[in-house]
């Protein structure tokens, strides 16, 4: 019997069958790009829809209709929204986010500096929190339902339950004010030595670590526990393998995908959620920059920050997806 669907499969379908891994990865990348474009529209549209505008805020008391109209014309605000969106998008793709209305400086240049600072802070927090969380997760699996597990759980839960600004102020109160062993505010500047930089960001880093630790640790614990109860772990035990080998060789590779996912999610949070912490510690990063821009309605800056945060978030999630796909042996080695 002839079967049209089996013989005339589309090139795309054939590609998916031969390289399922590559096909999925490409699909993820395309989806992420699409998502980024959608987010850019939302950001632009959202900023457009905000009440009040730069001209009235900037002029304050002297906002005569004529003066407002002049400034609007000068900034190009009298042109249609769609035109301005595409101009902005085209610029953004080339790394040009326009000129700040307030300072008349290039947004890209400013953002470049600030982003570096933010990434430094988030990166440092990640370097500490990821191994710590995974390690604590494994430790609490090892002591499951015993005292160390419970202590780790309670402390990490308490840390995640407190808002980060509160943790921040607590740390400032004890470590900077009462004991005086840490610096506040966390000011960094160009030409500052690496060690000095680390000292300066000790408190904000600690705050961030405390906030993201619990989530990652609990996910690690749950992922390993679910793997530990599977039949192949029983096989490992009945082979007479040591507990260490069973966990490292047989449990870990299978617990990887969910752990990668939660780590990436938290890394994204570290970059994006850093806003509040930066403000608390007066740290010259993206968050602080964005908050300042919002108060004066400096739209190019707000839009640039929004888009960059979104891009980082989408990129890290995409990375998590792709790594989880690669960690799946069924996709890595198709039949």
């Amino acid at each position: 019997m002839s079967n049209p669907t089996e013989t005339e499969s589309l090139p795309r379908q054939r590609f998916q069958e031969r390289f399922p891994l590559l096909a999925l990865v490409i699909e993820r990348i395309l989806l992420s790009l699409l998502l980024l474009v959608a987010v850019s529209m939302l950001i632009f549209g959202g900023v457009e829809a905000l009440p009040g505008d730069f001209a009235t805020t900037y002029l304050g008391q002297s906002a005569t209709p004529q003066a407002v109209a002049n400034i609007r014309a000068e900034l190009g605000l009298d042109r249609p929204v769609v035109t301005r969106y595409f101009e902005w998008l085209a610029g953004a793709v080339q790394g040009d986010f326009g000129t700040s209305w307030a300072s008349k400086n290039s947004v890209s240049e400013q953002v470049g500096n600030r982003l570096g600072n933010s990434l430094f802070l988030a990166g440092f927090a990640a370097v500490i929190s990821v191994p710590l969380a995974v390690g604590l997760g494994m430790l609490s699996v090892h002591f499951r339902n015993r005292m160390p597990d419970k202590i780790i759980n309670v402390i990490s839960l308490a840390a995640i339950s407190l808002p980060e600004f509160f943790i921040g102020y607590l740390l400032i109160l004890y470590f900077a004010v009462n004991f005086g062993i840490a610096t506040f505010p966390a000011t960094v500047y160009e030409g500052m030595g690496f060690i000095e930089r680390l000292k300066a960001i000790a408190l904000p880093t600690a705050t961030l670590v405390l906030v993201v630790l619990a989530h990652m640790m609990r996910m690690t614990r749950a992922a390993i526990l679910s793997v530990m109860s599977s039949a192949y772990m029983e096989t490992a035990e009945l082979k007479g393998l040591s507990a260490f080998r069973a966990i490292v060789k047989h449990a870990a590779p299978n617990a990887l995908a969910p752990i990668i996912n939660v780590v990436a999610l938290n890394l994204a949070y570290l970059v994006v959620g850093v806003v509040v912490v930066e403000v608390v510690f007066v740290y010259p990063g993206m968050g602080q920059y964005m908050v300042d821009a919002v108060t004066v309605r400096d739209m190019p800056v707000v839009q640039a920050c929004g888009l960059i945060f979104a891009a980082v978030y989408i990129f890290l999630n995409m990375l998590a997806d792709i790594l989880a796909i690669i960690a799946n042996p069924r996709l890595r080695h198709p039949r």
């Binding site: 039949a231 192949y232 009945l238 007479g240 040591s242």
Partner: protein, 543 residues
């Protein structure tokens, strides 16, 4: 000859946590003793809950899921392995005693290649070098009849079939040259035509390597092919223990006799099979991705009769049921019910069309809402189709309970408080509640123990005579077909290979597939395996 394994007065307990009650200790295995000599095979047989797996694992001093060995002795070469410490027992596991699990698919680690997993224990216990272990694995792959033995070890578990995985697991157990292997239902999850190959491969391999084995199964016909001795277990106690010959040919206990004689019934088929209730005409079906699963199937079923659809997993038998229920509308062909065309898609069928065709599933567990009582489960179709409520509904539920031979006391029980057989009975009552003309039974007994399954089949037959019900009975078990069917359809790879009244369908001349299928069904007869294998070279070794 000294005993290799000697078990004395084994007692195994666990703590159970019944809902709403304080935890209580239950005894899983009580006072079991047996001996096993080098190179011999002991079959442990019993229903689920008989404690046979638990006893098997005690040979590795292992208690699964909270089971604890609390009394007795398990001696391996004269050493009580229960008294060994953690480190001591680790030297026994995977070296002297190995384990083959029921589901090799779950027991292999999906992240590693089969070859690495097969040699792992041998290498880690320092029994052989990596190269030696690889050579031995290759030898075992050959002995077990695995395809392309040279490269088989490079594959990942998901890349090979279930039958191959089960053989690979046997290779894994044999690799370290153990003195004893515990086989825990190694062929239960396989199709019959695959089972016979795996069974033959296991038998050949343990003879070749002179390894002793504990062979656990619920199928007496299977264990009769491979064992020297058999122990029959029930409720954690020994019912009967003797040689294969004695157990099969001269059982002394009633329970053993019931097991030996199970499914010896055969029903006379209905003489007149011309008045069709349901007619399936040249039906094809495909999944939404274009994958074709049914190719031009035509068959019919008469009122008050039973059509058995037989086939292995992937043969399309369940898909055909889905097409008839409308869950998967056919891509081609048509289905008529009482000479009127049946609406193809489930969601556009009228309430009366829905009522006339009901379903019973393989897993009664998953087909019932665990948070509803028996009253709600059976009462739902009564309200839906007949608008019954309150006292009228309760009265009808009680009537239905009586029909399925359960007392009124069950009316407020939850599914979790019922046994497997009782759950399946409730599922039957739920189907009956709609007063259907046709019930599709999708392997309703294959998850049940043989004696319980027999009870369900008898009930279905009784209901058929009482209310002129028609059944489509999907199964992979030829013995069930003999017991209940009027007509038989054999399916293979989405095609109908044979259809007709039972007497004609199950007698020669056979097509190749039906022949293979019928010959693969284990018979309660010593030497059956050898007899079949001598007439049939391992034709489907690629399975």
């Amino acid at each position: 000859m000294p005993e290799l394994l000697s078990v004395r007065n084994l007692k195994i307990e666990a703590t159970s946590y019944p809902p709403g009650e304080p935890p209580k200790r239950i005894t899983i295995v009580d006072g079991v003793s047996f001996d096993l000599q080098k190179g011999k095979v002991l079959g442990l047989i019993g229903e689920s809950g008989a404690g046979k797996s638990t006893i098997g694992l005690s040979a590795l001093a292992y208690g699964r899921g909270g089971a604890e060995i609390t009394g007795g002795e398990v001696s391996l070469n004269g050493t009580n392995i229960l008294a060994l410490g953690k480190a001591g027992i680790r030297k026994v596991r995977g070296a002297q005693v190995c384990y083959v699990a029921q589901s090799a698919a779950a027991a292999f680690n999906p992240a590693h290649r089969l070859g690495d997993q097969v040699i792992e224990a041998s290498v880690k216990h320092g029994l052989m070098s990596k190269d030696e272990a690889r050579k031995r694995a290759l030898y075992l792959f050959r002995v077990l009849g695995l395809p392309h033995p040279e490269t088989f070890g490079d594959r990942f578990p998901h890349q090979v079939s279930g039958g191959q995985l089960q053989r690979a697991m046997t290779a894994m157990a044999l690799c370290p040259n153990p003195e004893l292997i515990v086989f825990d239902e190694p062929t239960t999850a396989l199709d019959v035509t695959t089972q016979i190959d795996v069974l033959a491969a296991i038998k050949h391999a343990i003879e070749e390597t002179d390894t002793a084995a504990l062979y656990i199964t619920h199928d007496l016909a299977v264990v009769a092919q491979i064992s020297d001795d058999i122990m029959v277990l029930r409720y954690g106690k020994t019912v009967e223990y003797g040689s294969v010959q004695q157990i099969i040919e001269a059982p002394t206990q009633d329970y053993t006799r019931a097991l030996v004689n199970v499914r010896q019934t055969a029903r006379q088929e209905a003489p007149d099979q011309s008045q069709a209730l349901l007619r399936v005409d040249n039906v094809s079906a495909q999944y939404s991705n274009g994958f074709k699963v049914l190719h031009g199937v035509s068959l019919h079923l008469c009122k008050g009769q039973t059509l058995a659809i037989v086939g292995e997993s992937g043969s399309g038998k369940s898909t055909l049921a889905r097409v008839i229920t409308g869950l998967l509308p056919p891509s081609d062909g048509r289905i008529t019910f009482e000479d009127k065309p049946l609406t193809p898609a489930l969601k556009s069928r009228s309430r009366d069309e829905l009522r006339r065709i009901q379903l019973i599933y393989q897993m009664a567990d998953t087909a019932m809402n665990p948070r509803q009582t028996v009253r709600d489960i059976i009462g739902r179709p009564l309200t839906f189709y007949y608008g019954l409520r309150g006292a009228a509904k309760t009265a009808r539920v009680k009537e239905l309970l009586e029909q399925i031979e359960m007392s009124n006391g069950f009316i407020d029980r939850y599914p979790a408080e019922l046994s497997g057989g009782q759950k399946q009975r409730v599922a039957i009552a739920r189907a009956l509640a709609a007063k259907p003309e046709l019930i599709l039974c999708d392997e309703p007994t294959s998850a049940l123990d043989p004696l319980v399954a027999e009870g369900i089949l008898k009930l279905l037959m009784k209901l058929q005579t009482e209310s002129q019900l028609s059944y489509i009975f999907i199964t992979h078990d030829i013995a069930i077909v003999r017991a209940i069917a009027d007509s038989v359809a054999v399916m293979h790879r989405g095609r109908l290979v044979r259809f007709g009244p039972k007497s004609r369908a199950l007698s020669p001349p056979f097509d190749d597939y039906t022949d293979l299928l019928l010959k693969s069904v284990p018979e309660m007869e010593i030497g059956w395996l050898e007899r079949v294998l001598s007439t049939r070279r391992m034709a489907s070794a690629g399975n």
